[in-house]
Amino acid sequence: MSELYQILDEEGVVNKQLISKINLSNEQMLEMYKHMLIVRILDGWLMRLQRMGRAAIHAPNEGQEAIAVGVAHASEKQDYFFPTYRDLGLMIVRGASIREILNRWLANSQDPLKGHEFAIYGGRKYNIVPTTTPVSVHLAAATGFAHAAKIRKDNLVVFAFLGDGGTSKGDFHESINWAGVFRLPIVYVCQNNQYAISLPVKRQTASETISIKAVAYGIRGMRVDGNDILAVYSATKEARESARNGMPVLMECVTYRLGSHTTSDDPSRYRTQEEVEQMRKKEPLRRFKNYLISNGILSEKEEQELRKEIEKEIEDEVKIAVSVPPLPVQTIFEDVYSDMPWHLKEEMDLVVKEFEEDHQS
């Protein structure tokens, strides 16, 4: 459980024996690469939109793209996801449009979440349940969702995401312990990106690895190179099979957060630029691209064109999104309850009146 499962090394050189076990067509690999690329480029845009004062906050994905994209590709259609605030890749693989994602970020009148909360990846049609911002609180609901699926004898697996920092919370413990007791179809995907804001993983736990914590719950632990999308894909397939058969999995994906914690963080306060540059060499896109090119699945030129295409699409979509009208003020009062009690009506009437006064003069 402390060995690291890797298929592509840092230069994209493949372990022939391991890759032979994976059944991936060239098309699918190209799709995976494209999804990672969209995440990388859109991520940059979301950072910029925040700096322009358009979006409230963003948690960058740079360096971690292989995990969400790899797990989502290895999942089955009916599977369910409980992500964190850093898992843009799930939305992309599950088919959310760039326009929708931008509308969410701008909390405009086309935001399907009605501007009630920021930065939440999820939606009914994607089988993704938006996370709670308080870390690891969502793991219990993910566990309950898997428990319900088991009761209903439905053939699906739940993928619950968390960070290394998230392992220190009581809710992590209670949830995974529960999954062990009830042998639930769930895979906990821990993105160990070495940091929780400023704190290195050594400050979270003295355990040798995160995957080894599985022992405490009688479940299976796996430790995967999270910057190697082929390893993530293949390990997820195996984890999924295990979970489906009643052995839940804690899958640690070892990676590195290349960017800041969020747009309001300044990592120079707590880590050196050298460390980041050192780690950048291991980042997942370059590695997978090298593999695709050296195996003749993609050419440099095609890659450049793909990048340009994505850039262009996002730019166009940003132009559209920023001109979508804002949310009406009533939405403040919607969805608190299934029906609106008298006191909320009372409060809403006051606020709407004020809003209208403000906007008629």
Binding site: E117, G122, V129, A141, F145, A149, E174
Partner: protein, 324 residues
């Protein structure tokens, strides 16, 4: 139709409803073979089996959060907390997940779980088996909060809770689990969430209460009537939403108010009623609004009689307000 206790009514309602709707699942510590420490879930495991009656680890956060996940899936989970005093270990799940899920997902997901369990003092339970913690839940937008005082209401409100789409905190006053009996119809009927019950009409003063204190308020009202005071007694039954209309109508009639509850006074539910009245019925008030409540201390083991609103204190306060 049978004469049932509060605990008995809850038990039989659970059985009836679970027979009708196989999405209902009960989970909690010792709810299975043990039947719950107050036997509210007695016999459920035998009838519905371990998939629907789930004895859980000692994990309040997981119990609530797992219930939320089951509700997202489409089941109807009823989570028992052994004593509401122990719910604080899962408080984040309630406040950050369950109460806010519908809101933060723009209505796409919802977690209509019922979290039920005993509250209230009067059983010599000390500070961790006696609290009446409704304030924490009423103040949290997104939750509905119910406190029945009668077997009939307990059944009707539990069925209402199961029929609707919002998370419900369902507080059962343990001191009256087996002391109050009432005829309760078999089969399905509902008591609406958000409607108070005027238990006794009167003209001189309105006594507003809920939970076990309703019964003590009724007693105090009877004693006051002996002194020719006409007391209206209102059982709120649900605290979120609460029935402002019934409260206002009564107070506009009587002009005098006594609020009775077990929770500590400071920011106890009585504060909200008083504040609503000071805003909406000021001109009708003929006397100060008085609250007879638990004390602003942890719940003591010794002398709990004096910690709680006593019959005498309620009655004296009624007299004080009427003679103001």
């Amino acid at each position: 139709m049978a004469e049932l206790t509060l605990a008995g009514a809850l038990n039989s309602t659970l059985k009836e409803q679970m027979r009708k709707d196989d999405r209902i699942v009960v989970l909690g510590e010792d709810v299975g073979r043990r039947g719950g420490v107050f036997l509210v879930t007695e016999g459920l495991l035998e009838e519905f089996g371990p998939e629907r009656v789930i004895d859980t680890p000692l994990s309040e956060a997981a119990i609530f959060g797992v219930a939320a996940g089951m509700a997202i899936y489409g089941l109807k989970p009823i989570a028992e907390v052994q004593f509401f005093d122990f719910a604080f270990g899962g408080f984040d799940q309630i406040v950050s997940q369950i109460a806010k899920l519908r809101y933060r997902t723009g209505g796409q997901f919802k977690a209509p779980v019922i979290i039920r369990g005993p509250v209230a003092g009067g059983i010599r339970g000390g500070m961790f088996h006696s609290q009446h913690p409704e304030t924490y839940y009423v103040h949290t937008a997104g939750l509905k909060v119910i406190v029945p005082a009668f077997p009939y209401d307990a059944k009707g409100l539990l069925i209402s809770a199961l029929k609707q789409e919002d998370p419900v905190i369902f507080m059962e006053p343990k001191s009256i689990y087996r002391t109050i009996k009432q005829e309760v119809p078999d089969g399905e009927f509902t008591v609406p969430i958000g409607k108070a019950n005027v238990l006794k009409e009167g003209d001189d003063v309105t006594v507003i209460s809920y939970g076990a204190m309703v019964h003590r308020s009724l007693e105090a009202a009877e004693e006051a009537e002996k002194e020719k005071i006409s007391v209206e007694v209102i059982d709120l039954r649900t605290l979120m939403p609460f029935d402002i209309e019934t409260i206002l109508n009564s107070v506009k009639k009587t002009g005098r108010v006594v609020i009775v509850h077990e929770a500590p006074k400071t920011l106890g539910f009585g504060a909200e009623i008083a504040a609503q009245l000071a805003e909406k019925a000021l001109l009708y008030l003929e006397a100060p609004i008085m609250r007879v409540t638990g004390q602003d201390t942890p719940f003591p083991l010794a002398n709990e009689h004096y910690y709680l609103p006593t019959l005498k204190r309620i009655k004296n306060t009624i007299l004080k307000v009427v003679n103001f």
